[in-house]
Each structure stands twice: as C-alpha cells, then as structure tokens.
C-alpha cells in the first residue's frame, strides 16, 4: 500500500482533533478531541514503522506507549473534570473564571475556601 494513504488519514484525524480542541467548549469533548489527535499519531507511527521495516519496531513500541499514555490521560482528565463539576456544577470551559487575574485584582481577597461564582 502507498504510504500516502495512512498518512492522509492520520493528518485528517489529527486536524479534526485540533479543530475540536479549538471549537468545543465542553471539557469532555475537548478530551475526546485530544484522543483523536493521539489516534492520528498512532496511525502515523505504525505506517512509518511498516514503511521503514524497522528492525527495532520503534514505531510500534511507541504506539503501545501512546495508547497507554492516552488511557492514563483520560482517566486523570475525567477525574479532574468530575472534580470541577462537583464544585461548580458545570464542565463548560467558558464558565471557569476563578483564577482570572483581573477578577482577582479587583476582588482583593484571596480566601481559597470561598465557593466560586460563575460569571
């Protein structure tokens, strides 16, 4: 098979992921878009591994690591999204403003236990 086909699929997946990261405002959807980007990477790696007939199979080995990393990231990411959701009852990135520098400067009180108010 020509190398160009898997590379095109991979680039398409990666671009879709980038678009999702930029366009989506829901943290879970952003996470899913990151997964798409990582899947683009794995397709690339496997295709290059086959193309080079790499004796060490570096591409396949790194693919396994990328899959593991992606799993770890999603596990941790969902835990953090859940944590934010419990505190704020939202997972919309536009509603996050507790750490806004301008808000902090006018508020003048950095009491960390004070529950936040969505803008």
């Amino acid at each position: 098979m020509r190398l160009a086909f898997p590379l095109a699929v991979s680039a398409l997946l990666f671009s879709l992921g980038v678009f999702g990261v930029l366009a989506r405002r829901n943290a879970v959807l952003v996470l899913m878009s990151v997964e798409l980007m990582l899947n683009g990477v794995t397709i690339n790696l496997v295709a290059f591994d086959a193309w080079w007939s790499d004796a060490l199979h570096g591409g396949q080995v790194l693919t396994l690591f990328v899959i593991t990393i992606a799993a770890a990231e999603v596990g941790l990411g969902l835990a953090i999204v859940l944590l934010v959701f419990r505190n704020r009852a939202t997972s919309d990135l536009n509603d996050l403003g507790l750490l806004d520098e301008r808000a902090e400067a006018t508020e003048g009180n950095g009491d960390v236990t004070e529950p936040g108010v969505a803008r």
């Binding site: 996470l31 690339n44 790194l62 690591f65 009180n109 236990t113």
Partner: protein, 504 residues
C-alpha cells in the same frame, strides 16, 4: 528475521529513578497500613528514599555510563539511557528540589494544618520526580515522551489534590488541558521525525538528519512540533498561560515543586532533544528558541510588574526565568562552533541549578507565611524582618538572587554566564535582551524586598509564625545551597564545555 535483542541492564546506572520509584510505592502502601495521621512517618520514608537516590547519583559521579543499548547490524550501538555530567547535575537538582518540597509539605501533610492527604501527595511528588530523573538520562524519543508524561500526570493531580477547593480544581483542569494538547502536538512531531529518519534513538536521528538527503519539509515540521511539547513544560511563551493559574490555584508547596522540579525536567528534555537529536537542524530551532526566549522573559517580567499577590508574582517571574534559561540555546545556528554551543549548554545547566535553589528559598518562606495569612497579598510581608528575621533573610536572599543582586551573588553568576554565552555565540541582541529584562525585573523584586523592612502597619500586632522544624530545615537547605553556589559557582558552571557538539 529480526535477531533477538538481548539487553543487559546496568542496575547501578538506573538506580536513582529506581530507588525513587520504589520509595513512592512504599510511601503509598505504607500510608494504607500505618494508622491514620501518620503523615510524619510517610514523609520520613520519602526523605530517606530521596537521600538514597541522591547517594546513588553520588556513586555515579565522574563516570559516563549507559544502559538499555541495542545494536543492529546496520549501525553502531545506540543507548536509550545515558548518564553523563549534565544528566547527573540535573538529577541532583531534581532530588534536592524534591527533598526541600517534601520537608516543606510536612506541615500540610501532618500536624495541625493538615490539608493534603499524606500518602497520595508524597506518592505523586516522588513519581513526578522519578520522571524528571529519567528524562535527564533519556536518549531516545520514546523514553523522552514517556518520561515527560510521568513528570506531568502526577503534577495535574497534585494541583487539584486539595479537597473542596474550586480554585485548585479549576487550575488542574487548565493545566491538564493545555498539557495534553501540547503533548499530542509533540507526539505528532515525534512521529514525523521518526518517519523522516527511521529511528527513535537520538544519536541515529541526529545522524540521519545530518546526512542531508533527508532534509525535508517533513523533518523540519517534525523538529518544530517536537519542541512545542517541551516549550509547554518549561512554560515558554506562547504556552505559558497555565503557569500563573496552576501556581496560584494549587497549594504553595505544589507551586514550588512545579517551578523547580517540573521546570528543570522541561529544560533538560529540551537540552537533550536539541543537542543530541537535532543538532543538524540548529538553523531551524535556534532562531525559534531565541525569539521564544526573548518573548518569554519580556512578557513574564512585564506581567510580574503588576501583580499584587506573592505566588502570582513568583509564577510570572518563573515564566521570565524560563526565558533566561532558553536564551543560551538561542545562539545555535549553522555558523556556531561546537565550542560555543558547549558553552551555551553549560550556561543553561548553571542557570537552572542556581535558579532552582534560590527560587526554593523564596517559595519556602512564602509557603510558611501563606499558612498564617492565606490572602497572599504583599502587605502580609510588611515588616517581616522585625517579627521573623530568619525567614525575612531567606526570602530577601532568594529575591535578590533571582534579581541578580548582591548578596544573592549566585543569581548574578547565573546572569553573567547566560550573557557571556550569548555574546560568545555571536548573538549580542539576546545578551542585550537579557540585560534589559534584568533591569525591568529589579523593580518588582526590590519593591517586595523593601517591604520586608518597612515598618509594620498601624494597629496590627506582629504575628509570630512559629516556623515548624521541617519547614525551617527546608528553607535552610535551599538557602545554604544558594550561599554555597554564591561562593563556589564553579561547582555548576562550565560542566558541559567539554562535551562539544558539532552543529550542521
């Protein structure tokens, strides 16, 4: 048919990360079995483990070793894990930083002000430090990526670890999302580099890139995208947005950890990848790093000028210091001699070492003060020199060293080394930018230092902080290291001069 690849593992070479990883597991499991509120025991185990790892680094000193090597019929032996002087210095910095953070966190883990779960915190700190140790020795792209993730993933959890704290959760989410996106971009770059060169080992990548025929748009794109992930880790512009949020949202000790261990890991990753893997593309990444470095230091300093909170100021100042750290690498281009590049690498190493210890001294005192005055405003530090002279001395030393003024001579050495390497590399404009930024930074460091000696506000009784022994020891270690480096800068300056790298 692929020949079976049998690997002998040199256990002593991998001892520092191995000891730290084992200690992390022991701390996590020990916390389960020990009775509740045994935070001190867990910290003691962690400190012992960190000291043991430091001892292992000492055993490896003055000796170049490598392990996890493969040899194929096609080429010479390539190793995935190499210990050289730069590796050892970075590992020592990471371990000392971890030690100080563990001691500093003692008050948060045990005792009356218990706000963090002991076993989990210690486990995450040690895991992240393990990743940093591996990253310093990594010599293939797979190891670099995995080590970078091992540094990052526990750090997200650390930022969001404080319970019922919406700010921490939000900071963790920002940090996490920016990080995973930049790691994905970096992985795409790694895949392209692999596609262009056919290998993940940095020495083979360097050889393939230097051979000329593979100098393609694919390789160039791969090199640039690979640097994105590392620039994020360092907190360089335009990937710096997470830094102030993560530092001020999480606990102060975690901010100290991020600013030293995590940043040192990012810098060493960048140094390893560009010097071992991409020297042939120095004319691609050299100017890019130069521009990023100058933008980072300028933006960091200008933003720091208008901060009213201690941790946020330290966060922006740490962004600015990332710029200074990257400045020497900016001299790299096709015209630079291997000698000048070696000097640039030495300057990066020296700057990171000195920045780490003086920054820890400043962060240590801020952590102690923040416990008693959670608002974290500058007014909390008014008159600290009269109520807590020792803490004020440590903070003053740290701030002046970050600014590069006596008595913090260590900071001055660091600045001189960076400027010298930029001039030697023929990049006078970078040296000028560093000098101008140092002057801008004086404004906020001196304002804060002067506040330490201002008379206390009317009608406010001076608060005695009763600095706990562990915190005092932590600040003392950082301060002592800072004083030693002020007197004997040759301990960290000029380490990589010998390792000449030929640029294509």
């Amino acid at each position: 048919m692929t020949p079976a690849v049998a690997q002998g593992v040199d256990w002593l070479t991998v001892a520092p990360p191995l000891v730290l990883a084992a200690t992390a597991l022991a701390a996590l499991l020990g916390d389960l079995w020990l009775p509740a509120r045994a935070g001190s025991a867990v910290t003691a185990v962690a400190v012992a483990g960190t000291l043991a790892a430091l001892g292992a680094v000492g055993l490896l000193w003055d000796e170049a070793r490598a392990t996890f090597c493969v040899s194929t019929p096609a080429g010479p032996q390539s190793c995935s894990y190499v210990v050289d002087p730069i590796t050892l210095v970075f590992q020592a910095v990471v371990l000392v930083g971890t030690l100080v953070v563990l001691l500093l966190a003692q008050q948060e883990l045990a005792g009356t002000g218990r706000v963090l779960p002991a076993g989990e915190t210690v486990f995450l700190v040690l895991c992240s430090a393990t990743g940093a140790l591996v990253l310093a020795a990594a010599r293939d792209l797979a190891t670099v990526v995995v080590a970078l993730e091992v540094v990052s993933l526990p750090a997200f959890a650390l930022v969001g670890l404080r319970r019922r704290d919406p700010r921490g959760a939000e900071a963790a989410l920002t940090f996490f999302l920016v990080s995973v996106v930049s790691v994905a971009v970096m992985l795409y770059g790694v895949a392209l580099v692999y596609g262009a060169t056919g290998s993940l080992h940095l020495d083979r990548v360097a050889a393939a890139l230097a051979s000329g025929e593979s100098r393609t748009a694919v390789a160039t794109a791969g090199v640039v995208l690979t640097l994105v992930g590392l620039a994020f880790k360092v907190g360089a512009v335009p990937f710096h947005f997470w830094v102030p949020d993560a530092y001020s949202g999480g606990p102060v000790v975690v901010a100290a950890f991020l600013s030293v261990v995590s940043k040192a890991a990012g810098v060493v990753g960048l140094v390893v990848v560009v010097s071992q893997g991409f020297p042939a593309y120095a004319d691609v990444w050299g100017p890019a790093v130069a521009v990023i470095s100058v933008a980072t230091m300028t933006l960091g300093n200008v933003a720091a000028l208008r901060q009213r909170r201690a941790v946020r100021l330290l966060a922006w100042s740490s962004v600015a210091h990332s710029g200074y750290m990257l400045a020497p690498l900016g001299v790299a281009s096709s015209g630079v001699t291997g000698e000048a590049f070696g000097q640039a690498l030495s300057a990066v190493v020296a700057y990171v070492c000195i920045y780490a210890v003086v920054n820890l001294a400043a962060f240590g005192v801020v952590a102690v003060v923040t416990r008693h005055r959670p608002s974290g405003l500058f007014d909390d530090y008014r008159g600290l020199a009269y109520s807590e002279p020792a803490s004020a001395a440590a903070l003053g030393f740290g701030l002046l060293a970050l600014a590069g003024l006596p008595p913090g001579v260590a900071g001055l050495w660091a600045k001189v080394v960076v400027i010298d390497s930029a001039v030697a590399g023929g990049a006078g404009w970078i040296a000028l930018a560093v000098a101008v930024n140092t002057v801008i930074a004086l404004a906020y460091y001196l304002r804060w230092t002067a506040l330490l000696f201002a008379s206390p506000a009317e009608g406010e009784a001076p608060v005695s902080y009763e600095v706990p022994a562990a915190s005092g020891l932590a600040v003392g270690v950082a301060l002592g290291a800072g004083v030693v480096l002020s007197v004997l800068p040759q301990l960290v300056v000029g380490l990589a001069d010998a390792s000449a790298v030929t640029l294509g």
